[in-house]
């Protein structure tokens, strides 16, 4: 087996040192009736070229050569080449959690840079080294808010990504933490502030909204914060499309920001691995889950970095820990750090502006087709938008697929009240030609013979 670095003679010499006749003898501590005496029924050993063929064939069965207008929590952005060059350096790829600070300064300093960039982008004081993704990060943020406030309820906007809400509900229900959902204003597509105000009680630990929300619309964070804070509840802002932060004011009124950093140079990869992150105000740091890198000095006064505030974590606190999280998404956080370094202060703003322009053009072009109109048209938004059509989404999308275009996400499953509605996204990768092609297919109603 090509990954195993031993010759038969070396194995024999080692068995001799151990004092057994065969490797199998080492497994005699397993009761005989449980020892597997047959081959596992898995495919036979393949050569490297066969492995590549296997996955190339799988890829060929997917949508190859299609134009896509899907966003909805997974965003197509250009990934600069240097990201993969750097994250594939074995020193990053094949090291582990930096518990031994002396020989993991590279990872630790990169995490410190990541934390700094996330703080700058979100307007928070501290950010952790990552969570699994935006959905689990949001669930952990709610648990964090219950610890801080000593209250148990959470109020979640229905404009938060539906799959994030499902995950939050899974986490909350099994811990006996009640949650309620607040609807949106039918005209603006933003959380209904009157309903929100009415749902917050003295038991409410936190309000959780997403901005840009699932419809791509920016929520009124200062107003929502004022409503939450007036009743002693914390505000958690979830961000699924992180590129928006290049041009959108950060949610500085929030107490906790739970972000999905996939947009920062991470491949869509059928939904993962991504990179959640929790950022918060300094005063809440000891209730924050996840790892943190901190700056310190060594015996000679050199600057260095260590994992710190570990007394919050499971390997020290066991059942009293702030979370059970151990392995996080370190390499993906590194991808995000490199992406943010490549784009930088000016590039990130330009990129966000390109997204804004593409989505604005796409929304206007698609909505100008007969039988199509833009929902929530007057609200400020980023790069997702909701299109209403006379035809059912399945019919519209079938027409688009004939032109090798994957249209918007059918919203019927989660928002049936919107009727024939689809959620579209245009990023810097969607060309004007693609947008215009989609618009003409959208309009091409079946011609009766």
């Amino acid at each position: 087996m090509r990954y195993l670095p031993k010759s038969p003679a070396e194995r024999r010499a080692m068995l001799e040192r151990v004092g057994v006749a065969s490797a199998d003898e080492l497994f005699h501590v397993i009761p005989e009736e449980y020892r597997l005496t047959r081959d596992l029924a898995v495919p036979r050993q393949l050569g490297e070229s066969e492995i590549i063929d296997h996955f190339r064939q799988a890829a060929a069965k997917n949508a190859v050569g299609y134009t896509s207008f899907l966003g909805a929590g997974c965003y197509r952005h250009y990934r600069p080449v240097v990201i993969d060059s750097l994250v594939q350096r074995g020193e990053f790829l094949t090291s582990y959690t930096p518990y031994q600070a002396e020989i993991t300064q590279g990872t630790l300093q990169a995490i410190f840079e990541f934390q700094t960039m996330i703080c700058e982008l979100t307007g928070m004081d501290v950010a952790n080294a990552s969570m699994y993704d935006g959905s689990t990060g949001a669930a952990e943020a709610i648990m964090m808010a219950t610890r801080i406030t000593g209250r148990t309820h959470s109020v979640v906007a229905s404009t938060v990504h539906p799959e994030y809400r499902e995950v939050m509900s899974t986490y909350a229900q099994h811990q006996g933490l009640p949650s309620s959902t607040v609807g949106y204003d039918a005209k603006s597509g933003r959380v209904n502030l009157d309903l929100l105000d009415a749902s917050i009680t003295s038991d409410t630990a936190c309000v959780l909204v997403q901005s840009p929300n699932f419809f791509g619309i920016l929520e009124d964070i200062p107003a929502i914060a004022a409503i939450a804070h007036a009743k002693g509840a914390l505000l958690i802002v979830s961000i699924a499309e992180a590129i928006s932060l290049g041009v959108v004011r950060p949610p500085v009124e929030a107490d906790i920001v739970s972000m999905e950093a996939q947009s920062f140079g991470v491949a869509i990869s059928y939904g993962g691995p991504y990179c959640g992150v929790i950022a918060t105000k300094e005063k809440f740091i000891r209730q924050m889950p996840g790892r943190l890198a901190g700056e310190t000095r060594d015996a000679d006064g050199n600057r260095g970095f260590v994992l710190t505030l570990a007394t919050r974590e499971q390997h020290i606190r066991r059942e009293k820990a702030t979370s059970n999280i151990c392995t996080n998404q370190a390499l993906v956080a590194l991808m995000a750090t490199i992406f943010l370094t490549v784009y930088g202060k000016e590039g990130l703003r330009e990129l966000a502006l390109h997204n804004l322009a593409k989505a604005d053009f796409a929304a206007a072009t698609l909505a100008s087709q007969p039988g199509a109109r833009l929902l929530f048209a007057g609200s400020p938004r980023f790069n997702d938008f909701v299109l209403a059509t006379d035809d059912a989404p399945s019919a519209v999308n079938a027409r688009l697929l004939e032109q090798k275009i994957i249209g918007g996400l059918d919203l019927t499953r989660w928002y049936p009240e919107l009727g024939h509605a689809t959620l579209w996204c245009a990023t810097e990768l969607n060309t004007r030609t693609q947008i215009e092609a989609a618009a003409s297919s959208l309009a091409a109603a079946p011609v009766e013979a």
């Binding site: 497994f27 081959d39 939904g271």
Partner: protein
């Protein structure tokens, strides 16, 4: 730095010497200094060029109004060559499997095959969107299907979910299944039993699933005390969370009795699969009474640890728990095509958006295909042989608190060295000077001053012999010059960082106000 100090007989640490000596597998060489990326930033430098905008420009103030951002503060402004040098220099400060043996017990630091990285980046797979029509995602779904089949076969279980993002997330999912199962029978039950040898994630998981944690003391062999277990298991016990082989690297030989004791009271057996590298192809948890378990694809199935993730923590279970698996589950339609089934009324719900850390599924499947049944078995045998080889080569110098046969890892104690004032953490720091990553320190907690060594199958006899030589040399140093060990490492860029101050006055981000970082106000 003074290279002479690497020698056991050397003069004091500060003694300067111009010579570069070889110590086993290493000698020292200069590494580059590198500041924080923010300190290299200068307005106007850039590393990106966007294509010209092919749609009309927009006025962000008009579109966003009060939502418009003023600026991006300290975000860096640097050029591409500076970025390459910055992160390359940082990388050289890391130790990694690619550089040498990384015997971090419980973490299974094995070789991460490069073909895995290659296939994970094939365009049709890497760019697949979770919401693209299923008819255009059959390739992605077939990968999920084949990996599920392989993992079910390897574990001997009946059903599986790949949704959990890491081991601890798998534990969470598994205990939710246990809870849902008991609830469906009318009573969620109150407590989960966790042995004192368990990983910290086990009790933390039970607690976040709303269970009271009951600790179970290990017996004199470091194993589950079956009589004690029998005494404490009752109708309020939801499950036992067991790591097998245990964290001292020992197979629970009374595993069938353990399962029987639990099942007799209606409780379930959860297995933490962290140590599955000792069993693949040799024994199957499903055959020895386990009801539900998680796997760590980043341990047993070679997906890279990446400095702390991403991982992937599939949960496999027996048929009785299948109805409760997270939604969606993969199903095959009558026409043979694959589909996600969301119609799962008894499901515990979703534990993560989309379908899990899909990129890790690709890598794990590539690993299984590269091995085949014969390779997987040989891998397990080599992993266990390597641990036993280390044990046989060091047990005369390091105390072995539990003499039970070792599987994939061996746990020594620092009892003999502690008598000279040297603890496991000191030995760990000293082994860095010899060119190795330390073993796991002070865990499991049932061993005082534990040295938990897991070599994995990826080490050659040559590398193991160098490690053994280094450990033997350190044992000698402890006798002859314990101060040398207590002040190690002597060869690294930084040594013995001040962790106390880092925790007392946390500096968790860079601030632009001064050359060095300032504490958070």
């Amino acid at each position: 730095m003074a290279n002479e100090t690497l020698k056991p007989s050397a003069a004091p640490v500060s003694g300067p010497t111009p010579r570069n000596t070889t110590l086993g597998k290493v000698r020292t060489h200069p590494t580059q200094n590198e500041g924080l990326i923010f300190e290299k930033s200068s307005p106007g430098k850039r590393a990106v060029k966007l294509p010209p905008l092919d749609v009309p420009e927009v006025d962000p103030a008009a579109l966003l109004g009060e939502h418009l951002r003023a600026d991006l503060g300290c975000m860096p402004e640097v050029s591409e060559i500076e970025i390459i040098r910055h992160f390359t220099r940082l990388s050289t400060w890391n130790y990694a499997i690619d550089l040498g043996m990384y015997p971090l017990g419980s973490c299974t630091m094995k070789y991460n095959p490069r073909v895995n990285e290659f296939i994970a980046r094939i365009e049709g797979l890497a760019e697949a969107h979770p919401y693209q029509p299923e008819s255009l995602a059959q390739g992605s779904l077939e990968v999920v299907s084949l990996l599920e089949q392989c993992l079910i076969e390897i574990t001997g279980m009946d059903a599986i979910t790949l949704q959990p993002a890491a081991g601890a997330h798998g534990e969470f999912t598994g205990i939710l299944l246990v809870r849902a199962y008991h609830e469906s029978r009318g009573n969620a039950r109150r407590k989960v039993i966790v042995p004192d040898s368990a990983h910290g994630t086990n009790p933390a998981t039970a607690a976040i699933c709303g269970y009271e944690v009951q600790n179970l003391k290990s017996n004199a062999l470091g194993m589950v005390d079956v009589a004690e277990l029998e005494r404490i298991v009752d109708e309020d016990t939801a499950a036992l969370m067991l790591t097998n082989p245990s964290t001292i690297g020992v197979f629970e030989s009374e595993i069938h009795k353990i399962a029987d004791v639990l099942h007799a009271k209606g409780a379930l057996l959860y297995m933490d699969g962290a140590n599955m590298n000792a069993l693949v192809g040799k024994a199957r948890p499903g055959d020895f009474g386990v009801d539900v378990m998680h796997l760590n694809l980043h341990k047993t199935f070679s997906t890279p640890h990446g400095g702390g993730g991403p991982g992937s923590g599939p949960v496999a279970c027996k048929a009785i728990l299948e109805p409760f698996l997270p939604t969606p589950v993969l199903a095959r339609k009558r026409d043979g095509s694959m589909t996600w089934n969301f119609d799962r009324p008894q499901s515990v719900g979703r534990v993560r958006a989309f379908y899990g850390n899909y990129g890790m599924f690709l890598r794990a499947l590539a690993y299984i295909l590269a091995n085949g049944p014969d390779g997987l078995r040989q891998t397990t045998e080599d992993a266990v042989l390597n641990a036993n080889y280390i044990r046989a080569s060091l047990e005369d110098l390091y105390d072995l608190p539990y003499k039970t046969a070792s599987m994939h890892e061996v746990v020594f104690s620092d009892r003999r060295q502690a008598a000279r004032g040297v603890r496991t953490g000191d030995i760990a720091k000293r082994i860095i000077d010899y060119g190795f990553h330390p073993f796991t320190v002070s865990f499991p907690m049932i061993v005082s001053g534990a040295l938990m060594i897991e070599p994995t199958e990826s080490e050659s006899k040559e590398e193991l012999d160098l490690f053994i030589e280094a450990m033997r040399s350190i044992a000698q140093e402890v006798e002859q010059s314990p101060e040398l060990v207590k002040h190690a490492p002597h060869s690294t860029r930084v040594s013995r960082l001040d962790e106390a101050t880092a925790a007392r006055k946390p500096i968790l981000r860079w601030r632009p106000t001064a050359l060095s970082s300032q504490p958070v106000e």
